[in-house]
């Protein structure tokens, strides 16, 4: 699975990338929403791991823009939220995210969710 990780924290990017590369996925990184959107549009991945709160453009906005563009409308989106609050869940669903994990998350769980989302997506 080709994955794009979008998070403004280098720690979180490293954690996610290390895990997903160990699982055999191909991973690219972006350090804020704007950069993430540009990277996704330039070379659409199978899946985007997307942080909710970021400078320049937040995860919700990135989500909307990805869904609007035919090149990325089908990309799987796994959002990282910082609370399991219903409000961000509702907004994320509304914006077109496919799955959610709240921080702190378990790398092992991330691995399973990416596998699930990725195989569904690539089977289409």
């Amino acid at each position: 699975v080709r994955v794009l990780v979008v998070d403004d924290s280098a720690v979180v990017r490293r954690l996610v990338t290390a895990r997903l590369e160990a699982d055999g996925h191909e991973v690219a990184e972006a350090s804020d929403g704007m950069e993430g959107l540009e990277a996704a549009l330039a070379d659409p991945p199978d899946l985007v791991v997307l942080d909710r709160s970021m400078p320049r453009m937040d995860g919700f906005e990135v989500c909307t823009r990805l869904r609007e563009n035919p090149a990325t409308a089908d990309v799987a989106i796994l959002m990282l939220t910082d609370s399991s609050g219903e409000q961000s869940l509702a907004e994320g669903i509304d914006r077109g995210a496919d799955d959610f994990m709240s921080k702190p998350f378990s790398p092992r769980e991330l691995s399973l969710r990416v596998q699930l989302l990725g195989t569904r997506r690539t089977a289409r």
Binding site: S9, A10, V11, R14, D82, P107
Partner: protein, 229 residues
């Protein structure tokens, strides 16, 4: 039998344990070594738990008060009162359960090293000491930048920028297992979101301390993992 059970539970919880066979022996041990807490059986030969605790409190005078947790065969309110009257701080009824023991000790023991870390995450990262070392290094840089940004924002009275800085540091800290730092960040973020820059500023020194102690504990964690890998 009870003593063996208690000792093995305490050791499982990561504590160092010395055993005294009765109240008299307990008082002698307390003279010669220093402890963080005493689990005191109420029914013992020679000197029972109540008498031993009274004597301990007399010797302590106005000095440091050692937490004494009673072990009693009964769970009645009158037993509890009797324990507290003898100078004990808390009580556990037998048979001893490990959960109750842990909760009670948590109330009375100072937080030990590593208490501020996310054990679950660190256990998951346990088979990759190099990754953890990497994460800690990246986090150290982010924490440094975050504290600087936060100080600048608070100085300028910019609550929104303070909120963003605290939020980002929270995410990074949770990613490396520094949950204690994450908790302080969250509180700071909440205060800043309410526009309470004064309260947020008051919390800033605690955040700095939390970062320093987490950095220390994470470094220790790395050496532990490297040693066992």
């Amino acid at each position: 039998v009870n003593r063996t059970v208690a000792v093995s539970m305490l050791e499982k919880l990561g504590h160092e344990v010395d055993v005294a066979g009765d109240g008299q022996a307990a008082l002698e041990a307390l003279e010669y070594s220093s402890y963080d807490a005493v689990l005191m059986d109420c029914q013992m030969p020679r000197l029972d738990g109540y008498q031993a605790t009274r004597e301990l409190r007399r010797r302590e005078g106005d000095g440091r008060r050692l937490p004494v947790i009673a072990l009693t065969a009964h769970a009645m309110e009158s037993d509890r009162r009797r324990c507290l009257a003898a100078g004990m701080d808390d009580y556990l009824s037998k048979p001893l359960r490990v959960e109750a023991l842990r909760e009670t000790l948590d109330r009375w023991l100072p937080p030990g090293p590593g208490a501020e870390l996310d054990r679950e995450l660190l256990a998951e990262l346990g088979d990759e000491p190099e990754l953890l070392a990497d994460l800690v290094e990246l986090w150290g840089q982010e924490a440094h930048d975050g504290l600087t940004q936060l100080a600048r924002a608070l100085e300028a009275g910019d609550a929104e920028a303070a909120e963003r800085a605290a939020h980002k540091l929270k995410g990074a800290s949770l990613g490396v297992g520094a949950s204690g730092v994450g908790a302080v960040c969250e509180e700071l973020e909440r205060l800043a979101a309410q526009g309470d820059a004064a309260a947020a500023s008051a919390l800033a020194p605690r955040l700095e301390e939390a970062v320093q102690s987490a950095a220390r504990e994470l470094r220790e964690e790395i050496s532990r993992q490297a040693a066992s890998a």
